[in-house]
């Protein structure tokens, strides 16, 4: 090639840098091909033609002054950066849809009014006693309800109800289903402001003796195929005959969607209370009145101690019904929402950081465009349009994702999640998705905008991207990117600490020593309604099943009890413990009680620490024996030997007292982490009245897979007690797994969000470092030329990364420390300021930062000063 052509090609290369950036390559290729193949005589025309072409390209750009052209230009600009475009759209789509989905759940579950007229006036009414333990199911004492209901100045009405499992059937010949039935005061529907869709509600003076039942829409469909002729037909609940008096509307699900029937009659002493405030009355005013009314009722005596753990003055608690129904889900939902929003913010920050780096390299373009007369409004509009395209694309994907997630939601939400059916994607939710995506896209678009406004033509033209020695934190955009990065690291730290806390909590929950052996244990419930079984028949059936099961190969022990561990139910019991010696005062005792079969302890794998469990020696005619747990001994019997102590306790009517024959290790009945509470066990083999409950539980200890014995158990139950249907057959481990479903879901989601935030921070960090190394190549080369070793240069890069990380992580740790107390309701088993979680989170981050900074550091170390400085 001739020297002239070479010079012309160099001229074209130089000139190409002034062409619109998205056309530079193409422009250079076209002109180079012409120059390399044109006859020499024509070459001179390149000197005029090529600059004229460049100028024309710019003029065309500024002439294309319509939004349509902006869109076309924007599309072209985005197509030229596919990696950035996909990152931005992905960030927007995932972030906006995750945030929307959680916002939808929060709106549907926590904010949407309950489906009752003037539902803001509905309140849950419960009571407690001064000095009572705080964490118990809220109840209203029947006497308070009666004393308050008819003369209330703060409530227009006050109703009570109580839900229970029952066996129902619409045809006597059917075997029946286990369902939830609510017994209620006659004014429950009126208090809520609902009427049946079919038939009429209970009359104000309706009695349980009327034997009327109101069915849910689902039950009406299931049992009567929605036939209006269902009214007046017979319906059996636990063997009692009721007449169908009405069918509720499809959206009526009170207190929960599982309830299928309501009957008048809540003859229990402790109820759930729901009231309707008079207009203008606050919950606190109602609580004051309730407290005063409750204190006019006679005291509960021993029962008060048994239920509340105290016999102090009554205190009534009134809270809005909506928050009462959703209080369990609220902390987790808010936590997830904050985590998702933080993830979204850190993702948007990442895209902003990418844009900022890009803006630095686009300064020349902006400068030339403004030199050609494109006003800054024009340039700004172009950028706004470019980001609106990103936002719209992100929104489109986000809407699809949101709809898809909403379809999956019912499977994700654990059973019993309150108001799950209220979570719906509506226009508002989709508008939110759109707003989030478009808003966020403009947010990260604003950074280059802000940058463009500072572009001065002379500066931009004089400054070559690789020229400045320095860079790093010395430039405005460098500092801004470092600040963004520190914030991202902070968010990642916060989320990682949260994830570590939840993970540690879950670990503690699943690994805790519950005092019994969960493995190789098959459990089931055996509903034996009073209508079908007398107490003695119940015991005979249970003993028969136990004896038959113990013959089955692979079964080591079979036992029965009125309640299983992990079932949040207890039979509280209280009595006065006589003093150990003369001169002492009797002490009020509160303990949970259980009636069990003889080999209960062996079947559950419970340790009997002192004395013995129940044996064949314990019979109806022998003196009553009881076993207490260590917590009972610790709480009440420190002043005397436990074994042989006689307690004035009456498990059965003929008992006057019972002697402690054994001390069992503590069993944690519920979460496995709660403080063990005092417990008393008695053998139902010594109780003429039989078991305490009518739905006993079976526990079968096996040598092999317990689930494999379920069919055998069913067959034996069917033979021995055909009137009883076995329910809830599952291994103890499955039971625990179900109980941990919510913590596991929560921990899983937060870990996923934390990992995503960590990934985003790592990508952001790697990007920032790579950009720094690229723009500082001249400076690094000078250092290398002056004798800095590769190690020192690479070290400098890693040090820079660590500085930003440490600043960000410190901010994140402080934030985590402050915010951790919000987690106290979802973190159990470890403290919310658990040191391991607070160390593990940042440690993971540090490792990832090292990995992310390795490649840029290597690149920095590999810079050849001779090459860079000559360029």
């Amino acid at each position: 090639m001739t020297a002239k052509r070479e010079r012309l090609l160099a001229f074209l290369r130089f000139l190409s840098r002034f062409a619109p950036p998205w056309q530079q390559d193409e422009w250079l290729r076209e002109w180079s091909a012409e120059v390399e193949s044109a006859p020499s005589a024509r070459l001179a025309s390149v000197i005029i033609g090529a600059p004229a072409h460049v100028l024309w390209l710019w003029r065309r750009q500024s002439q294309l002054d319509s939004i349509g052209a902006d869109v076309r230009y924007g599309l072209r600009a985005l197509r030229r950066r596919p990696a950035f475009t996909l990152t931005a759209i992905g960030t927007l789509a995932v972030g906006a849809s995750a945030t929307t989905t959680l916002a939808t759940i929060i709106s549907g579950v926590l904010l949407k009014p309950l489906p009752f007229p003037e539902s803001d006036r509905l309140v849950r009414v419960s009571e407690t006693r001064e000095g009572a333990a705080a964490d118990r199911h809220p109840v209203l004492v029947r006497e308070t309800l009666l004393a308050w209901r008819d003369h209330s100045t703060t409530l227009t009405s006050l109703a009570g109800y109580s839900g229970a499992a029952a066996t129902s059937r619409a045809d006597v010949s059917e075997s029946g289903d286990r369902v939830r039935v609510v017994g209620m005061t006659a004014n429950l529907f009126g208090t809520l402001g609902v009427r049946p869709a079919l038939g009429t509600g209970p009359a104000p003076d309706a009695q349980s003796a009327d034997r009327a039942v109101w069915l849910s829409d689902a039950a009406w469909r299931r049992y009567y195929q929605r036939s209006p002729a269902a009214l007046g037909r017979s319906f059996w609940i636990d063997g009692e005959t009721y007449s169908v008096a009405g069918v509720m509307t499809p959206d009526f699900a009170f207190p929960d969607p599982d309830t299928i029937a309501w009957i008048v009659g809540a003859e229990v002493r402790f109820l759930d209370g729901v009231g309707r405030l008079r207009p203008g009355i606050t919950a606190a005013q109602a609580a004051d009145e309730g407290t005063a009314r409750s204190r006019t009722t006679p005291g509960l005596g021993q029962l008060g101690i048994a239920v509340f753990g105290s016999n102090g003055p009554a205190r009534v608690i009134v809270v809005p019904l909506l928050s009462a129904l959703t209080e369990a889900a609220r902390p987790s939902l808010l936590m997830l929402f904050v985590a998702a929003a933080l993830l979204f913010a850190t993702g948007v920050a990442n895209v902003a950081s990418l844009q900022l780096a890009h803006a630095a390299s686009r300064r020349r373009e902006f400068a030339i465009r403004s030199a050609l007369g494109a006003g800054s409004t024009r340039t700004i509009r172009q950028l706004v349009v470019e980001h609106a395209i990103l936002g719209a694309a992100g929104a489109a994907v986000a809407v699809i994702l949101t709809l898809w997630w909403n379809r999956l939601l019912p499977d994700w939400l654990p059973d019993g999640f309150p108001r799950a059916s209220e979570v719906t994607i509506d226009t508002r939710a989709l508008l939110l998705t759109l707003a989030l995506s478009l808003g966020a896209s403009q947010a990260f678009g604003l950074l280059p905008l802000w940058f463009v406004r500072r572009v001065r033509l002379a500066d931009a033209m004089a400054e070559d991207g690789t020229a400045p020695a320095g860079g790093g934190l010395r430039t405005h955009s460098g500092r801004l990117r470092a600040a963004i990065l520190a914030a991202q690291v902070g968010v990642a730290t916060l989320l990682l600490v949260g994830a570590a806390l939840l993970g540690r909590s879950l670990h503690a929950l699943s690994m805790s020593d519950r005092g019994y052996d969960l493995s190789h244990l098959l459990t089931a419930q055996l509903p034996m309604p009073q209508h079908d079984f007398t107490r003695l028949e119940r015991i005979a059936a249970l003993d028969g099943i136990i004896a038959r099961m113990e013959q089955v190969p692979g079964v080591t022990h079979a036992a029965a009890s009125d309640i299983l561990p992990l079932v949040p139910l207890e039979f509280p019991r209280s009595f006065d413990l006589p003093p150990a010696g003369p001169g002492g005062a009797p002490r009020p005792v509160k303990a949970a009680s259980r009636s069990v079969s003889r080999n209960y302890f062996a079947a559950l794998g419970m340790r009997v620490a002192e004395g013995r469990g129940f044996t064949d020696a314990d019979r109806m005619e022998s003196p009553p024996s009881i076993v207490v747990n260590r917590a009972f001994v610790r709480t009440y019997l420190t002043d005397r030997p436990a074994l042989g102590t006689s307690l004035p306790i009456r498990f059965s009517r003929e008992w006057t007292s019972a002697t402690i024959v054994g001390v069992a290790d503590d069993v944690r009945q519920q979460t496995g982490l709660e403080t063990a509470s005092p417990q008393i066990f008695a053998c139902y083999c010594q109780m003429a009245q039989g078991l305490l409950g009518d739905t006993p539980a079976l526990a079968i200890r096996t040598t092999g897979d317990p689930a494999a014995l379920a069919p055998t158990l069913r067959a034996i139950v069917h033979e021995v007690a055909p009137a009883s249907g076995l329910t809830s057959v599952m291994t103890m481990e499955t039971r625990l797994k179900e109980q941990l479903a919510v913590p596991r879901l929560l921990a899983g989601l937060v870990v996923a969000i934390g990992a995503a935030a960590l990934f985003i921070a790592a990508v952001g960090l790697a990007g920032v470092l790579a950009h720094q190394v690229a723009t500082r190549s001249r400076e690094l080369s000078i250092r290398a030329a002056l004798g800095a070793s590769r190690r020192q240069i690479a070290g400098g890069v890693v040090r820079g990364a660590l500085t930003v990380t440490l600043v960000g992580a410190s901010i994140g740790l402080v934030a985590a420390f402050v915010l951790a107390r919000w987690l106290s309701t979802v973190v159990t088993g470890v403290g919310v300021h658990d040191p391991i979680a607070f160390v593990a989170g940042p440690l993971v981050l540090l490792v990832v930062v090292f990995i992310a900074s390795a490649a840029p550091a290597r690149r920095a170390a590999a810079i050849d000063p001779a090459k860079t400085l000559r360029a």
């Binding site: 290729r29 193949s37 044109a38 020499s40 025309s45 390149v46 033609g49 090529a50 072409h53």
Partner: protein, 106 residues
């Protein structure tokens, strides 16, 4: 690009119709300066009268030069050309010179 094509635009369309493909070839054919030909080609492309493709790499390698950007008349361009030729009768009288072979050459 307005409804009425300029003289140079019609001339370039005509060159393409006559089988000329790339910038300098068109310059040779039309005698227009390069400072006019390239922007006009750009305008014609924006208007949808002309499309451009990059020459196959193999062809370029055979001719020992980088691939050229080749322009081609589109249907709309052909219609615009016949209208334009009505207006600029002169062009019809331009003697047709045989198009050089594709490989071109220096």
């Amino acid at each position: 690009m307005g409804a009425r094509l300029s003289y140079s635009a019609v001339a370039i369309l005509n060159a393409l119709a006559e089988g000329r493909r790339y910038g300098f070839d068109i310059i040779d054919f039309t005698g227009l300066p390069s400072a006019t030909v390239y922007p006009t080609l750009g305008k014609l492309e924006d208007a949808g009268f002309v499309s451009s493709t990059w020459e196959a790499h193999a062809t370029a390698v055979r001719s020992k030069r980088p691939p050229r950007r080749n322009y081609e008349l589109r249907a709309a361009g052909k219609r615009a050309l016949s209208e334009g030729l009505e207006r600029f009768r002169l062009l019809r009288d331009v003697p047709t010179t045989p198009a050089p072979d594709k490989a071109g050459g220096r």
